[in-house]
Amino acid sequence: MPGLEDLYREIILDHYRTPRNRGELETPPAHMAEGHNPLCGDEITIYAQVENGILTDIKVSGQGCSISQSSASMMSQAVKGKSLAEVQALVHRFKVMMSIAEDPEDGPLVEVKLGDLEALQGVVKFPVRIKCAVLSWNTLLQALQEADI
């Protein structure tokens, strides 16, 4: 059995205890999507403000476990201020780390830096929790898709 220290890294617990970018944005102009984890009932809402192809602001609300909440918090920090193309690349990079997307051998993805998000790598050893970690990322994509951007 993999050790819990692989899962509950200090930075993850820090984001769980003190989540960044919590709250809501006015819709419109912001775009909003709700994500559900049908396995555990966790719910997350992502608000995304997009101006001139830049994700200028993001807020997260909802409830969930330490993994889903910390992942959402770290994601919000990582994507804020990025271009939509960079956001897409980051989402893909994250999914590759979570072993649910193919990793192209060459290409722009290699250049994408995950930073603190690397701390979530240990989640892969706990396959049941991958859905928790990815919930906010899929919800962000949904918000951007529904905005038809």
Partner: protein, 413 residues
Amino acid sequence: MNTNLVDWAAVKADFPVLQRIIDDQRLVYLDSANTSQKPHAVIDAMADFMRNGYSPISRSAYQLAAEATDLFEAARAKIQKFINAPHVEEIIFTKNATEALNLIAQTWGRENLHTGDIVVLTHMEHHANIVPWQMLAAERNLEIRWIPLTSDGQLDLTNLSSLLTGAKVLSFTAMSNVLGTLTPVAQLCQAAHAAGALAIVDACQYVPHNVTDVQAWGADFAWFSSHKMVGPSGVGVLWGRRELLHAMPPFLGGGNMIGDVRLDGFTCAELPSKFEAGTPAIVEVIGLGAAVDYLSKIGMAHVRQHEMNLTDYALRTLDDRYGTDICIHGPRDIAVRGAVLSFAFRGIHPHDLSQVLDQKNVCIRAGHHCAKPLMKLLGANATARASFYLYNDESDADALADALDSASDIFGL
């Protein structure tokens, strides 16, 4: 009742998986409300049948097939006796309990429920007793009414008669899979009938843990699963009153369920074949028969008493140790609750809690338990749930209490 008549340590030893050691720790299985472990008797009966007796049933003349048919039908008779059903042909094998309720909704329901008709459910139902009715309600424009709960998680029957006024169906659980609450089944069946409604009982959590008597209940239908009562997965049981089953149209069409098939149509077989289209789960039904034998030998009254003692012990242990840090849902009176403990602990998310407990090989369920409307009522997305069965003992409750401590360490609470 003297539960000392049963050697509970020997019962525990009957379940091979509970002897398993993972990372130098024994397995503490507290997820039996989800699905139960299997004793040697069930495993051996299934393996023996596959090794020495496997054959089709009901349709071949050779001796092997005759033996298999006898074993299969013996299981049906065992179930009949186990729940005190009046007639053996009233026992229908389905693929699981969920299919049993869908069968009722799709056959009796579609035949008898029309625009504006009323179905009464309760706030503590499993999705299996909600969604099939919602599907039918959408198709037939039915009204669904809900019996509310009291603050301690029992059914609030204050307005029962007005809720039942004009209702065609009262469909409810005999025991909540989240709160552990035992409902007054006979009283509810009587009230349903007084209002001219049918009484349908979700007995999934009840049958594995209690003496069941569908005639004493006065129910019209009851349904439950094999896998929660030390039997294999892949089999559910529907019991219904013979007159109702006779009048219902068939469910799935195919082999075994027909009397005759011509180019211009078909006639149905007699009960129970009418509702058992296709090759059934032969091995699993025989395994279920062995499960009924196993439970019957111990005695369901003993099982219930053992679980009451264990529930009492677990409640006291968790309370003594954690006081207000733990919030256990459902009634405190063990006379009206089964051995299912849903709880919140020190604000730690149930998913995280179950992950930490897993390090100690303590297996609990975390989630919404397929009862999202009830979760909403409890003000939670999820709860942690520890559920006990005949193979659990006080040391398992102690292991749960010990493991909770380590969760606090990690989350720094």
